[in-house]
């Protein structure tokens, strides 16, 4: 546990409180570029809370979180720009199609036509096997297909850090394979992927961080 190692995402003595209760405390870690970190632990151990802390959505009650050695609290906007988060909810609008969701997400992540937005969207649809469903409103998609659209967002904008909360929920084996391929691709490019999941991704060498429920 070398928290001060420069490269990647590191945490020192991290603690998180929710509703007056300590979810986890004194958590040290260092995630290096290219790593897949799988968060494990029983329900309530704080996997989702840790992901929200890593995303900067929740401030840690104690400790510091650093990117390449620089405290993220000093540059929250920079941290937001470098990460993509897929929560346990799909964040889909019933009346928008998959393509419209991805186009909006690209704009939200400030990926414009000049950055090859159309290419990124076509690629994302392709990676998650959504090409044929691209123009169907989300209300006509199955649970697993909706999850694929939520995950396809990851591929429309560049990010050095992916934070995935139960990404395989509702996915079939083919969907899991699509996600595994996307993760492998991201790691090859030096990205860090942190995922709370119960499944093993096929063919991936993952590091496991186990959280235990605190009293």
């Amino acid at each position: 546990m070398t928290g001060e190692s420069a490269a990647g995402l590191s945490g020192r003595e991290l603690a998180c409180m929710r509703g007056g209760r300590t979810v986890f405390a004194k958590l040290d870690f260092g995630f290096a570029p290219g790593e897949l970190v799988v968060l494990r632990g029983p329900n309530g151990a704080g996997k989702s809370s840790l992901l929200r802390v890593l995303a900067g959505l929740v401030a840690p009650a104690e400790g510091t979180l650093a990117w390449h050695g620089a405290d993220i609290a000093d540059d929250p906007a920079g941290h937001r720009a470098r990460l993509q988060y897929v929560g346990h909810l799909d964040a889909l609008k019933a009346n928008l199609t998959a393509r419209e969701h991805l186009r909006f997400h690209a704009a939200l992540r400030e990926v414009g036509a000049r950055d090859g937005e159309a290419h990124h969207i076509a690629h994302a649809l392709d990676v998650f096997g959504l090409a044929k469903l691209a123009d169907r409103p989300a209300r006509f998609l199955s649970q697993g297909q909706k999850r694929r659209v939520a995950l396809a967002r990851l591929c429309v904008a560049p990010a050095a850090l992916w934070l995935l909360d139960e990404p395989t929920n509702g996915l079939d084996t083919e969907g899991v394979a699509c996600l595994a391929a996307a993760i492998a691709d991201k790691r090859e490019g030096g990205g860090i992927v942190v995922a709370a999941t119960h499944l093993d991704f096929p063919g991936s060498q993952a590091r496991t961080l186990t959280l235990s429920p605190s009293q």
Binding site: R52, A55, G56, L57, V58, A59, A77, R80, A81, L83, Q84, Y85, G87, H88, L89, D90, A91, L92, K93, N95, L96, E100, F104, H105, A107, L108, R109, E110, G112
Partner: protein, 221 residues
């Protein structure tokens, strides 16, 4: 700013596909205003005297209807996290949602207001001022409504809380909007009242983005 415009465009296209919600607000506006002639009697002089106040109070109440879902829907679906994590300033994104709300619900309401005003026997020379007061006053309602909606995210009984936050703050807008129309009817200058309404709009435009962003960040953590 691209992200804010994209959000505005997306919310407007959602409003177009969900015309039912806009129609509900319009129907509420028309029906609630129609109740007054039944309640206070059909005498034209009495109705003409209270017409502006009725149009404005009912418009204010109608503008509360879509507020509860403004940010709560995003929070329930998970979209709020995506907005919070966007590189763009949250203030601009929250403002974009208010702008979409105003265009999608206040503008149609302003468009039908002359019909309601005519039904309530408002003198026709006051229609222009009524429209001007609505055009200048409703942006304030959308903005302070946005603050209320952001504060109510995650609250049980959010709609009741919303009304408690928004209605008292809307009183100054109501006072000067009605005063503008009465001044027109009395043959006085309407400009001071309209300038004040524009001033309120500028004030809420300055305050609301920061208040909404702070409340939304709090709601997510």
């Amino acid at each position: 700013m691209n992200a804010a415009f994209a959000l505005l465009r997306r919310d407007l296209s959602l409003a177009l596909r969900n015309v039912g919600e806009t129609l509900t607000v319009l129907a509420f506006f028309v029906i609630a205003a129609t109740l007054f002639p039944f309640g206070i009697g059909p005498e034209p002089q009495i109705l003409a005297r209270v017409a502006t106040g009725i149009v404005w109070v009912v418009a204010l109440l109608a503008s509360l209807l879509p507020l509860e879902r403004l940010f709560q829907a995003e929070a329930d679906e998970g979209g709020l996290d995506q907005l919070l994590l966007a590189p763009a300033p949250l203030e601009a994104l929250a403002l974009a949602k208010c702008a979409a709300l105003w265009i999608g619900s206040a503008v149609p309401l302003i468009a039908v207001s002359p019909i309601v005003a005519a039904m309530l026997q408002l003198p026709s020379e006051a229609f222009g001022t009524l429209l001007a007061s609505l055009l200048l006053g409703t942006p304030s309602l959308a903005l302070l409504g946005g603050i209320g909606a952001a504060l109510a995210v995650g609250a049980r009984k959010g709609s009741a809380l919303l009304a408690l936050i928004v209605l008292p703050l809307a009183i100054p807008v109501l006072i000067f909007a009605v005063a503008a129309v009465e001044a027109q009817i009395a043959g006085l200058s309407v400009r001071p009242h309209l300038f004040l309404l524009a001033g309120f709009a500028v004030f809420w435009l300055t305050v609301a983005p920061f208040a909404m962003a702070a409340a939304l960040r709090q709601a997510a953590s």
